[in-house]
C-alpha cells in the first residue's frame, strides 16, 4: 500500500521509514492552539481522528480499550469499534461517527508539516449498511469488545430520521458537523411499528460521556451495546476510491 507521495523542496525532511504526525487540541489534552507532534514508524499502522456525537450517554471502546485521546491508532488488522449507550428512551439513541485518517493538517497553523504528511486515505463511517450491530442484552463478558466476536444474532442499526445540527448542543456541534461532512450518518434503533419518532435532543442535553459504570444510572431505560467491525489494510473495504 502506498500511503505517501513525496515531492519535497530542500527545506523539508526527506522521505524515510518514519512519518510525522500532528495531534491538535481537539485530539489531545493541550488547549486550543497547541499540538503534539511525533515521529513514528509507518509500519506501525496509521491513525485516525475520531469525530462523534451521541444524543445519549456513551462510552467508546476500541479493540477492548477506551482510547485516552480522539486519535485512534490502527495496526493493519481487524478492529472492533464499540459503544455502550444509555438513554431514557429510544428516541434519544442517535449517534454519528466518522473516523478519518488523521494526517490532515490545517494550513493556517501548520504549514511546515503540509509538505510531508500524506493525504487522507481511510475513513470509518457510521452508515445504515448493516455493519453496525447492537443488542439490548448485556453481553456475558467482554469478548464483544474485540474483533472476531460473532454478532450475527445482533440487530442492525438504521439511519436516524430528521436530525438537524441545531438540535446538537453548541459544545459538540462542530464535532457532529465534521462527522456528517465526512459522510457519517446518524444511526438509531429500528422502529418497532414503523412510527419511530425523530431522534432529537431535549434542550441542553449534549453528548455526555459516562463518568461511572453504566449500570449505576438507574434512570436510564434504554441500554444498548453497539459494535462495528472492520478491517484495515491494503485490501480494506473502507479504502476510499
Amino acid at each position: 500500500m502506498e500511503l505517501v507521495r513525496f515531492d519535497l523542496p530542500q527545506d523539508t525532511k526527506p522521505p524515510s521509514d518514519l512519518m510525522a504526525e500532528l495531534h491538535e487540541s481537539h485530539q489531545v489534552p493541550i488547549g486550543c492552539g497547541g499540538a503534539v507532534f511525533r515521529w513514528r514508524r509507518r509500519s506501525d499502522g496509521f491513525r485516525m481522528t475520531l469525530y462523534q456525537h451521541c444524543f445519549c450517554r456513551s462510552r467508546l471502546i476500541l479493540d477492548g480499550v477506551e482510547p485516552p485521546t480522539t486519535l485512534l491508532m490502527f495496526s493493519f488488522d481487524r478492529h472492533a469499534l464499540c459503544f455502550e449507550l444509555e438513554a431514557s428512551s429510544d428516541s434519544l439513541v442517535g449517534f454519528v461517527v466518522a473516523a478519518e485518517e488523521a494526517d490532515v493538517v490545517r494550513p493556517h497553523n501548520w504549514m511546515f508539516l503540509e509538505d510531508f504528511v500524506p493525504p487522507p486515505t481511510y475513513r470509518v463511517l457510521s452508515k445504515p449498511d448493516g455493519k453496525w450491530k447492537f443488542t439490548r442484552t448485556r453481553p456475558a463478558n467482554d469478548d464483544w469488545l474485540r474483533p472476531g466476536f460473532d454478532d450475527s444474532q445482533w440487530d442492525t442499526l438504521v439511519a436516524a430520521p430528521g436530525i438537524e445540527l441545531g438540535s446538537v448542543g453548541r459544545q459538540h456541534r462542530w464535532l457532529a458537523r465534521r462527522a456528517l461532512e465526512l459522510g457519517g450518518c446518524y444511526l438509531t434503533t429500528p422502529p418497532d411499528d414503523g412510527s419511530h419518532p425523530p431522534t432529537t435532543a431535549p434542550p441542553g442535553q449534549h453528548d455526555t460521556p459516562f463518568r461511572e459504570s453504566p449500570s449505576a444510572d438507574r434512570s436510564a431505560e434504554v441500554r444498548l451495546w453497539v459494535r462495528h467491525e472492520f478491517v484495515t489494510g491494503p485490501e480494506a473495504e473502507l479504502k476510499l476510491p
Partner: protein
C-alpha cells in the same frame, strides 16, 4: 600508517600525564580536549574516562542559575549512514570547545532569566512590549506549560486549561476562571506546585535567540548551539554511536521517548547523563539549534565549526521528544521547523510540549 603510540595502558598513562601537566599549569580546557580525544580513541579505557569526568567537572560553570558543562574541542563523524538521507554523507567535523547547559531550560529558569513573574503567572510585570508582540504565543504556551512542565504532574488531562491569573487573550478581559479546567493528576497533590525539574516547552526559535542575546555580556556570550555542536555534545565522545549511551536502542530505563499516549514529560535529570554530563540529549524535548535546515547541507558543510546554510526558512531541531519513536531520538536525526515570526495573528507552530532549548556559552574573557 603506524599510529603515533601503541595504544594500551602505557599510551593511556602517557596521555594522562600530559593532561595532568596541562592541568597543573591551569590550562584545563587543553587538558580536557586532549583527554577527550584519547577517550574517543579508547572508549573502553576506564582510567581515561575517569580523568575526563574529573576534568570536565572542574570546568563546570554555574551561572544564571544554570549548570554549563564544557564540551571539549574535538573532531567527530557527523551524520549517520543508516539514517535518513539528510544525515548523509557522514563527514568529519571539528568543533571548538564551548559550554552547554546540562539540561533544557525549565519554565522557571526561562521566566527568571526573562525577568518575568515566575510560573504559573509567567508574564512581564507590566507593559512589556514583548507581551504585545507575543500575546498569542505567551497565552497559548502558558496553557501548555501548566500541565506538561509541572514537576509532579503525571499526565496532561485538561483539554483547555487556563491559570486564573492568565487573562484570556485580552489583558482587559475579566474572564479569568479556568476554562474547562480539570484537576491534574499529580504524584502527590500536597506538594507545592513547581516548574523547575522538567524542561520548559513551547518556545519559538526567536524567543530563545533573543533571550540568549539579552544575557550576553563582556565575559560570556550565550546563544543556541549550532547543529554540529549539538551533535558533538549529544554523542558524549562516543564514536559511531546512534545514541548518547552507545548503540543499544533506547528503553524506558535510559530515555524519555515513545510515550505519546502518556501525555507527559519526565524530569530532565531522571536518567543518567552522557559522558559530558549532559542529561536528556536523546528524547525528552526537541531542542533548537541555530542552523537553518537544508536537506543536503552535509555534502557541502565545512569541516571546522560549521554554522549551517546562510539562509533558509526552517531551523533545525535535534534530539527528539517524549512522543517520538526510537529512530527519531538518535544523536543524528534532524527535524526542520519554521523560525516562526511571532507577530502574526495565528499561534505559531511551536506551541507544543515537544520543543525546548539549551543555552550554549562561549567564554569571551576571563573575569
Amino acid at each position: 600508517m603506524a599510529p603515533a603510540f601503541v595504544k594500551g595502558r602505557e599510551w593511556s598513562a602517557d596521555v594522562i600525564a600530559r593532561a595532568e601537566a596541562m592541568e597543573a599549569l591551569g590550562n584545563l580546557r587543553a587538558a580536557a580536549d586532549l583527554i577527550d580525544s584519547a577517550c574517543m580513541n579508547e572508549p573502553d579505557d576506564g582510567s581515561l574516562a575517569r580523568f575526563r569526568t574529573r576534568i570536565l567537572n572542574r570546568l563546570e560553570i554555574r551561572e544564571l542559575g544554570l549548570v554549563f558543562r564544557y564540551i571539549p574541542r574535538g573532531t567527530f563523524l557527523m551524520g549517520s549512514e543508516p539514517g535518513p538521507s539528510d544525515e548523509q554523507p557522514v563527514h568529519r567535523v571539528t568543533v571548538s570547545g564551548f559550554w552547554l547547559t546540562d539540561v533544557p531550560l525549565s519554565w522557571s529558569a526561562f521566566c527568571r532569566l526573562k525577568g518575568w513573574r515566575p510560573p504559573p503567572d509567567s508574564l512581564p510585570d507590566g507593559g512589556d512590549e514583548d507581551l504585545e508582540r507575543y500575546r498569542h504565543q505567551v497565552h497559548a504556551s502558558n496553557k501548555i506549560r501548566l500541565q506538561y512542565t509541572e514537576d509532579e504532574t503525571l499526565c496532561a488531562t485538561a483539554w483547555h486549561l487556563h491559570h486564573p491569573n492568565h487573562p484570556f487573550n485580552n489583558p482587559a478581559s475579566t474572564w479569568k476562571a479556568p476554562l474547562w479546567g480539570e484537576a491534574l493528576k499529580r504524584s502527590d497533590s500536597a506538594l507545592t506546585w513547581s516548574y523547575e525539574q522538567k524542561p520548559g516547552v513551547s518556545f519559538a526559535w526567536l524567543e530563545c535567540t533573543e533571550l540568549a542575546q539579552s544575557l550576553s555580556n563582556r565575559q560570556a556570550r550565550y546563544r543556541l548551539p549550532t547543529e554540529a555542536e549539538w551533535e558533538r555534545a549529544a554523542r558524549g565522545g562516543l564514536p559511531d554511536s546512534r545514541y548518547p549511551w552507545g548503540n543499544d536502542p533506547p528503553s524506558p530505563v535510559n530515555c524519555d521517548f515513545d510515550r505519546f499516549l502518556e501525555l507527559s514529560i519526565l524530569k530532565s535529570r531522571r536518567f543518567a547523563p552522557n559522558a559530558y554530563g549532559l542529561y536528556a540529549m536523546s528524547g525528552s524535548v526537541w531542542e533548537w539549534t541555530s542552523d537553518w535546515y537544508q536537506r543536503d547541507y552535509y555534502s557541502e558543510s565545512p569541516e571546522l565549526d560549521p554554522t549551517g546554510p546562510t539562509t533558509g526558512v526552517r531551523k533545525v531541531l535535534r534530539g527528539g521528544s517524549w512522543a517520538d519513536c526510537a529512530e527519531a531520538v538518535t544523536v543524528s536525526f534532524r527535524m526542520p521547523m519554521p523560525a516562526v515570526t511571532l507577530t502574526g495573528k495565528y499561534i505559531p507552530a511551536t506551541c507544543t510540549p515537544c520543543i525546548g532549548f539549551r543555552l550554549a556559552r562561549d567564554e569571551l574573557a576571563h573575569p
